[in-house]
């Protein structure tokens, strides 16, 4: 059952539409990730939920009750910020306990609750430290502890791992879901890093162009994005989008995009004479030998990543494609020889002329 619910939310700033009739249901205890590029309205969404900004129309429900008339401090929702927002003159203990003091809890309860949350987040040994004595990772944990110490029903996390280094980011990706499960909290986590969205989200909502374009399990969004915009937000390098022509005969379709030719049996494709192909770089096989169905291409540049190597290949004048291969495979490729590619047809996405997914 939906625990946190947005119903037909509209919000605009002067001429700019931020949300156009947005609805969303989040389940109790769910770890939900809101993912979108900068400027897509992620921060506005958090402000509406926390109550520091109001929507133009539509309502926000918690456990079936509208919370629109509640002030921010009356909502059972707390928030942790990207830039930590710790009080510099207070030590970690005082920072974490500050919301409990505002709630006028007694001293022994405050002590017990702070220690409980600090232990879970592994900062119990630095509670007497001031923020400037804490590492970035510890600051992030302190900020998180402060938002969890009030045991909120819903916690909003605004890109909390953006300003920490890679080691801490990976540690937290492992730990965060476990810690939050212990609090039985419903989590709404905002990020602009697709890897983080896929790693953390039980479901991901893709926010782009005033709407949630996809709301689904991360694998589903990656493999079957509902449109080209969503598709392009995932992957490094991102998906190749090629303009294609389709000539169907009965149920079989012949799709041509530049020099790529694909024959498939998708009845859904019939009638879509002009379409787009979405091909992920890892679904292109690269080889020095030509084989049946492969196409000769020109190698423009090779840029190694950490785990894979990216090849910029030219299909024809003005049409380039990016392919990514594993480190082992790239060592077998000789840059001075001819290059051939072959597309893994079963993973290709087909979009219509309006860039919506067909199949």
């Amino acid at each position: 059952m939906a625990y946190l619910e947005l119903q037909n939310i509209n919000k605009r700033f002067k001429d700019e539409i931020v949300f156009d009739d947005v609805s969303l249901k989040i389940n109790k205890g769910e770890f939900f990730v809101v993912f979108g590029p900068s400027g897509s309205g992620k921060t506005v969404l958090l402000r509406l939920l926390s109550g520091i900004m109001a929507q133009d129309s539509g309502q926000i429900l918690m456990d079936g009750q509208s919370i629109d008339s509640l002030d921010p401090n009356e909502r059972d929702i707390s928030m942790a910020f990207q830039n930590f927002a710790l009080y510099p003159h207070m030590d970690a203990f005082e920072n974490i306990s500050s919301p409990l003091i505002a709630q006028k809890k007694n001293e022994s309860e405050i002590k017990q609750r702070v220690h409980e949350v600090a232990e879970l987040l592994k900062i119990d040994h630095v509670l007497s430290h001031k923020p400037k004595e804490l590492s970035n990772g510890q600051k992030q944990r302190t900020s998180l502890a402060r938002s969890l110490v009030v045991r909120p029903s819903v916690v909003l996390l605004d890109d909390p791992l953006r300003n920490v280094d890679a080691k801490i980011r990976y540690e937290m990706r492992l730990e965060l879901p476990k810690v939050l499960k212990k609090f039985n909290t419903t989590v709404l986590y905002v990020t602009q890093d697709y890897k983080e969205a896929m790693a953390l989200g039980e479901r991901v909502g893709v926010l782009a162009n005033t709407k949630f374009t996809d709301v689904a399990h991360p694998t589903q969004v990656y493999k079957k994005p509902s449109n080209v915009t969503s598709a392009k937000l995932f992957g490094d390098p991102t998906i190749n989008i090629l303009i294609a022509q389709n000539s169907s005969a009965g149920t079989s379709s012949k799709i041509t995009a530049s020099r790529i030719e694909i024959n498939v049996n998708y009845p859904e494709l019939s009638g879509h004479n002009n379409c787009y192909l979405g091909i992920r770089p890892e679904d292109i096989f690269v080889s020095n030998q030509g084989q049946e169905g492969s196409i000769k291409v020109e190698l423009r540049a090779k840029t190694p990543l950490n785990l894979r190597t990216v090849y910029l290949l030219r299909l024809e004048e003005g049409v380039e494609i990016l392919a990514s291969v594993s480190e082992e495979e790239s060592m077998l490729l000789d840059d001075n020889k001819d290059f051939y590619i072959k597309v893994d047809e079963k993973n290709v996405n087909y979009f219509d002329s309006e860039q919506r997914l067909i199949v």
């Binding site: 990976y170 879901p177 790693a199 540049a301 840029t303 785990l307």
Partner: protein, 377 residues
């Protein structure tokens, strides 16, 4: 032809009387004609100060900077024949995007036709041909950075200097623009130095990477060697994503076996990685002494996951399993030690997983000096 040589370069800033900051310490470099160098490090490591000394915006405290046989330090910035893209873009607000790009070319006294051709080529490459008539104040941050990059790339110069050239690019464009810019620089044989804090960008673009920290050059090597042969703990932890697993350990040699006793956070024994002495090249252990305290570094992609019940180092229980499209990140815990591994995207995660730390896959560092003892043990 432009070969850049830097000898014993130092920069000391006088912050207050008697309170100095040694921003760049004894920096040495030889960059051959057409090579691309990345100055890589986190903020405050001295990378930008080094770049600014080459450009002529900072005067070195001591040392030498030469282009071929010309002493650059004696020349003012305008006479050095370098083209630079600045981190803050530094576009001319009253000029259109197109005029910003062609401004430097007019000073080179190229014909109008040549200028048109060059501007068209570079704006195709960087996908800014639809904003050529706009003014800098009306374009986005990512677009402004592409304009600034275009302006530096089109110039005819001995040396190309780029300060964080791709930090603000739209994520969807980053991979393709990196590849095109690399192709352009290689094709035009431009000797290039660029500053970045992003190790992925450094590895993707550079022929050589200079990793800096605290004003000191930590390692200067090819991207491949930086990844596979890190010379100290800093370089090993800075390069790679997910980062290298860095485990505290102690070495022992007993019963013709080589053991690395891995410790957990509380410094208690957690597990050990062992090799048969007969299977290990003796030169590998020549520099190790019994009970020596080490840091064992293991790249996530070097951890071998398998389901076979024999021939493995440890049985594991996964603590996380993140499918990311082109790779899978697998987290597990061995007696209090958290480790992250990477599997191929087609790997099927099952119950009863085992891991191998195969010979050749680990890097050994001395715990005290933090210097490398052996890469690829």
């Amino acid at each position: 032809m432009a070969k850049l040589t830097i000898n014993n370069l130092n920069k000391i800033f006088d912050v207050k009387l008697g309170d100095n900051v040694h921003a760049v310490k004894d920096f040495n470099l030889v960059l051959e004609h057409g090579e691309i160098l990345a100055l890589l490090g986190s903020s405050g490591c001295g990378k930008t100060t080094t770049l600014r000394m080459v450009a002529g915006f900072e005067t070195p405290t001591s040392g030498e900077i030469k282009c071929n046989d010309t002493d650059l330090i004696a020349l003012p910035p305008a006479k050095r024949n370098v083209a630079m893209a600045f981190e803050g873009y530094a576009l001319y607000p009253p000029l259109t995007v197109k005029d910003n790009i062609s401004f430097g070319l007019m000073r080179e006294k190229l014909s109008n036709a040549e200028i048109e051709k060059k501007v068209a080529e570079i704006s195709d490459l960087l996908e800014i041909n639809d904003i050529l008539h706009r003014y800098p104040s009306t374009v986005s941050g990512g677009q402004a950075q592409r304009v600034s990059l275009a302006r530096a790339l089109v110039r005819t110069s001995d040396i190309l200097l780029l300060d964080e050239p791709m930090s603000q690019l739209e994520p969807q464009l980053r991979a393709v623009l990196r590849a095109r810019v690399k192709d352009y620089i290689q094709h035009n044989k431009k000797t290039t130095v660029f500053v970045t804090h992003d190790q992925i960008e450094a590895i993707a673009l550079a022929d050589k990477i200079a990793v800096m920290e605290g004003g000191e050059l930590q390692q200067l090597a090819s991207p491949f060697d930086i990844r596979t042969k890190p010379q100290n703990v800093f370089v090993a932890s800075f390069i790679g994503e997910p980062p290298m697993n860095m485990l505290n350990a102690e070495y022992s040699f007993e019963d013709s076996k080589i053991h690395f006793h891995i410790k957990n956070e509380k410094n208690d024994p957690a597990f050990k990685i062992s090799y048969d002495k007969n299977n290990i090249d003796q030169s590998k252990i020549a520099n190790l002494s019994n009970n020596q305290k080490l840091v064992v570094g293991i790249r996530p992609q070097k951890i071998n996951f398998n389901t076979s019940s024999s021939n493995h180092d440890a049985k594991i229980q996964l603590t996380s399993n993140h499918w990311l499209g082109d790779q899978i990140h697998l987290g597990f815990e061995l007696n209090g030690v958290n480790i992250i591994g990477v599997a191929d995207r087609n790997f099927e995660v099952q119950e009863g997983l085992n891991v191998n730390f195969t010979s050749g896959s680990i890097n050994l560092f001395d715990l005290n000096s933090e210097k490398v003892i052996f890469n690829g043990f």
